[in-house]
Amino acid sequence: MDFGRISRRHLLQGGAALTLGAAAGLRPAFAAETTIGFIYVGSRDDYGYNQAHAQGAAALKKLPGLKVIEEEKVPETDAVEKTIESMINLDGATLLFPTSFGYYNPHMIKMAAKYPKLRFEHCGGLWSEKDPKNAGSYFGYIDEAQYIAGIVAGYTSKSGKLGFVAAKPIPQVLRNINAFTLGARLANPKATTQVIFTGDWSMPVKEAEATNSLIDQGVDVLTCHVDGPKTMVENAARRGAFVTGYHVNQSPLAPKAYLTGAEWNWEALYPKFVKMLAAGESIPNFYRGGLKEELVKVSPYGEAVSEPARKHADEIKAKFLGDGYTIFKGPLKDNKGNTVITAGTERGQKDPELEKMDYLVEGVIGATS
């Protein structure tokens, strides 16, 4: 008995000494590098939102002189402030990417005010003049990619019925549903999009049930806006329906059923940010962009995509990449018959009105509440 106690104490002492030694020995080596912290709300290999950011983080890991630290499954509560504090004070992070929507206000704003010399970049928030100058928000106009996916879906669907598995009726989600539908109606003016809201970002059983119900209704092309599209993609493919993906490329999950998809392109953006900082420039506090600015991209077309679909989609894509193209232009009616954008009005991508979207356009079957 006595022996056991002594050895355990020795073990602890030894362990502590080792840790101290390691910390002391490694500190100087870290100081020469810039440490960047990434915070994810879910798992970073979810085939979805978080994986897209993790791919961006992975692109930074390849650059010399950078150290990337990551923490997953941080809830959108005080917990994220603690994570930020520990990334700053323990790991010496000077650039932070809290990537989830709910981190922004009040958590990230509070931390940015507390550490004015460090840089905070948030995905999806709406930075305003009142917010600290060392905080910024960036977001991609992924509805451009959804619009192109919609064109492909419109051509591919035989029934003209498309399905959309959505989490919550917030502006970003509604904008994707609307862009997808407008794209599809460009290909097939009679196409409709049936939307099902599951109520939360990650509800695999509900998403699977929604997918099955949509297919039972005759829907033959599905897409989604939830955190992990894996459930929808796999279940739709099993029922023989086609899918267009979201967040990242899900074609490895269903190579035959995958038509195309709207993807984030963070692996292009994050190195850009780092280069701006290294060159002494400041990152614009309010950073937005679409296909042209390389914030989003469209997945390569699957084998089931027909030639006319490819041609039409590529044509519109070229317009986005070139002089620009407006998705939301008048006259536009919502699905209750009210005019939401009057004739002659064009709401370009940067129009702040679009970030407050609260309607579903004509052709969408569903309601926001």
Binding site: G42, S43, D45, D46, Y47, K73, S159, Q194, V195, I196, F197, T198, G199, S202, M203, P204, V205, K206, E207, A208, E209, A210, N212, S213, L214, I215, D216, Q217, G218, D227, G228, K230, T231, E234, N235, R238, R239, L253, I365, G366, A367, S369
Partner: protein
Amino acid sequence: MADGNIGLWTVPLAVLGGAIRVSTPFLFVSLGECITERSGRINLGLEGTLVMGAMSAYGISYLSGSPWLGVLAAGLTGALLGALHAGICSLPRVNDVAVGISLMLFGTGLAFFLGKPLIEPTAARLPAIDFGWWSDVPQVRAALRINVLFLLGVALAPILFWAFKTTRWGLLIRTAGESADAARAMGHSVLAIRLRATMAGGFLAGIGGSFLSLFYPGSWNEGLSSGQGITAVALVIFARWDPMLCLWASLAFGGAAALGPALQSVGVTSGYHLFNAAPYILTLLIMIITCSPKRTLSGAPAELSITR
């Protein structure tokens, strides 16, 4: 009909399909918990067991290529977690509810930790049997693609009912649950009976988890269970510790879970949050209707810490 447009028929069909697809984990966990609680102990850790089962089934199926080995591994993992619960609870002055809650957190945490590399790969899935061959309607055929585990679960309910009533083992479990003193007077070890009952419960809950990851929704991710294990434990109380009632309650819960998405798909779009909450509203209603301050729940094993 020929064009596959079945309109409003989607709703009853989806509820039927949902009852079959979604109910299986509820069924296995509630039957398992039924055995455990009948022996006089509550294992709230089955949520953790369910998630661990889902993870280990997916992992083993991915590594070995055989989903059935995965199911077995899930069951064994569940039995192991059950043994852990029973082992801790057999120490003096240990509260089984508290141990259950800690094991629930332990199980989910461990599953997330070990399951990290399993989110991306695709594992071999359990096969389904096509019971809809007689129908031309693709929706009916899809709803009737039934997994063997569901059939096993459905068969298990009457078997358990019969076993509790007429077999020696059933009697022993019930004795341990109704009066530990009586079981001891008969010369049986109450702790040993409860150990086996908790292990059996864990085994079934683990298999329930394997259904989630290997059949429906059919892949491993961290939101997979979203509280189904804990719902199933509550379902046992709701089913009055009767395996047959567990079966009907599980089917009702499965059907209710499909109601929200199905109604939206036919265009009933208002109040979908309410329809999504249908299973919980159902539970609350039945709890309110059947509760009474004057007596303990009928059918409750007398040794359970919540009724004592």
